[in-house]
């Protein structure tokens, strides 16, 4: 169904339902929606002919008319709508169409506002992983000492290649899964000590979330204070902080099997491994200041190096401390 006022100009379409009705003037008065960078527009072909909703050429000659000034796929035929008594079908269809339009526009507006605070469209990048990547990354996290190439390939100015093609890129799948596994593993360990209650799961989950938030806040404040500018955004930092759950889970499992001594051994090993991993990964991603950036983005000024080093040391210490705090109270005394 084509609601454009240009209906009169076009040859009448084959419709299964009744005569062609008066088009509602409403869709033309709606402003063209603005698309943020992350949204895909299914009708994205910018055809100047269609801009004001007056198509010069019919998009397709079928029953499903094209609606170029609407931001999503064409709605199905009116025979899918419920028929209300006393109201002709076309008016019902028009009412439904208007409702869908308004809903679409308002949800888009809400989405745009939300996007400013939580970068939802960037999230897709962090979950573009496959099994091979996960296995290799886990191996890298547990034994990073033999890995030689730590550079990340970029496909555009600030966006690295998707994680499934680049093993050094950060992702959010592993931290998320590790977080959930940590909560479950905590429950398991508590259960073996007869200390388990269902509330403990919730407490562990919110407690570790609080730890992560605290770490992120400390890291961002430290980055501001030492005026180290980098391309790392919130989600990148979240992923680097989330990798410590792997250490916590492994330490818990070792503590389960080998009692206290196994727990502490695995914990110290993972502190070193994670520290090494962070050092190598973040060394070239933290620039020191804009002056250095302008002159030569690849050289590091001397004071900048010291600050970067200190920041990395701070991150390592924070993550070691958090790993320890996350798991110590769960081990049998």
């Amino acid at each position: 169904m084509n609601f454009n006022a240009s209906d009169a100009r076009q040859p009448p379409r084959k419709m299964k339902h009744g005569p062609q009705h008066q088009p509602t003037p409403l869709p033309q008065q709606m402003p063209q929606p603005y698309y943020g960078a992350g949204y895909g527009n299914p009708n994205a072909s910018f055809n100047p002919n269609n801009y004001m909703g007056y198509p010069q050429v019919p998009q397709d000659g079928g029953v499903y008319g094209a609606q170029p000034n609407l931001p999503y796929q064409p709605m199905p035929q009116p025979q899918g709508f419920p028929s209300m008594p006393g109201i002709p079908d076309q008016v019902t269809a028009a009412a439904f169409q208007y409702g869908f339009n308004a809903l679409g526009q308002s949800s888009q507006a809400v989405g745009r506002e939300f996007e400013k605070y939580v970068p939802v469209s960037r999230l897709k990048y962090y979950f573009a992983v496959d099994t091979g990547y996960v296995v290799k990354k886990l191996r890298l996290l547990t034994f990073p000492f033999w890995h030689s190439d730590w550079s990340i390939k970029y496909e555009s100015e600030s966006q690295p290649v998707q994680p499934r093609y680049e093993i050094n890129a950060p992702d959010l799948y592993i931290p998320l899964m590790a977080y959930v596994t940590y909560v479950v593993a905590a429950g398991l360990v508590l259960g073996t000590q007869d200390r388990f209650t269902p509330e403990m799961l919730g407490i562990q989950a919110s407690s570790s979330l609080a730890f992560i938030l605290f770490e992120l806040a400390v890291i961002f404040v430290a980055m501001y204070i030492t005026s180290i500018k980098s391309n790392l955004k919130l989600l990148d930092m979240l992923s680097y902080c989330g990798y410590q759950f792997i250490g916590a889970i492994s330490a818990l499992m070792a503590g389960l099997l080998f009692k206290s001594i196994g727990y502490y051994v695995v914990l110290t090993y993972f502190s070193f491994a994670l520290g090494f991993f962070l050092m190598r990964s973040l060394k070239w991603q933290l620039q020191s200041d804009s002056a250095a950036n302008q002159q030569d983005p690849y050289a590091a000024s001397t004071s900048g190096t010291k600050r970067r080093f200190n920041l990395l040391i701070l991150m390592m210490v924070l993550q070691t401390f958090t790993m320890w705090r996350l798991s110590a109270h769960l081990i049998a005394p």
């Binding site: 609080a210 938030l213 404040v221 501001y224 005026s227 200041d289 004071s303």
Partner: protein, 81 residues
């Protein structure tokens, strides 16, 4: 002592309150942390100037929201103990 989201919220509220009650003239200037004393368009802002900037921006931005957050927290604690 449990480290939950609620305790984190309380602790951050207390810290922000502490930063907001630091008086510019009566205290910070005396210690040498006043706003006028640290200027300079140097190449790289020192750690101290960044910290002072941070303190000043927290005080400017968070004054009003902190009032509401404090009221909420007080009511919450009164009701739930």
């Amino acid at each position: 002592m449990a480290f939950t989201l609620w305790t984190l919220f309380e602790a951050s509220l207390l810290c922000l309150n502490a930063i907001c009650v630091l008086h510019e003239e009566r205290f910070l200037a005396k210690v040498g942390w006043g706003v006028n004393q640290v200027h300079g368009f140097g190449e790289q802002p020192t750690v101290k100037s960044q910290v002072l900037n941070l303190i000043r921006s927290i005080r400017t931005v968070m004054r009003i929201p902190l009032i509401f957050l404090n009221i909420l927290t007080i009511i919450f604690k009164l009701i739930l103990g």
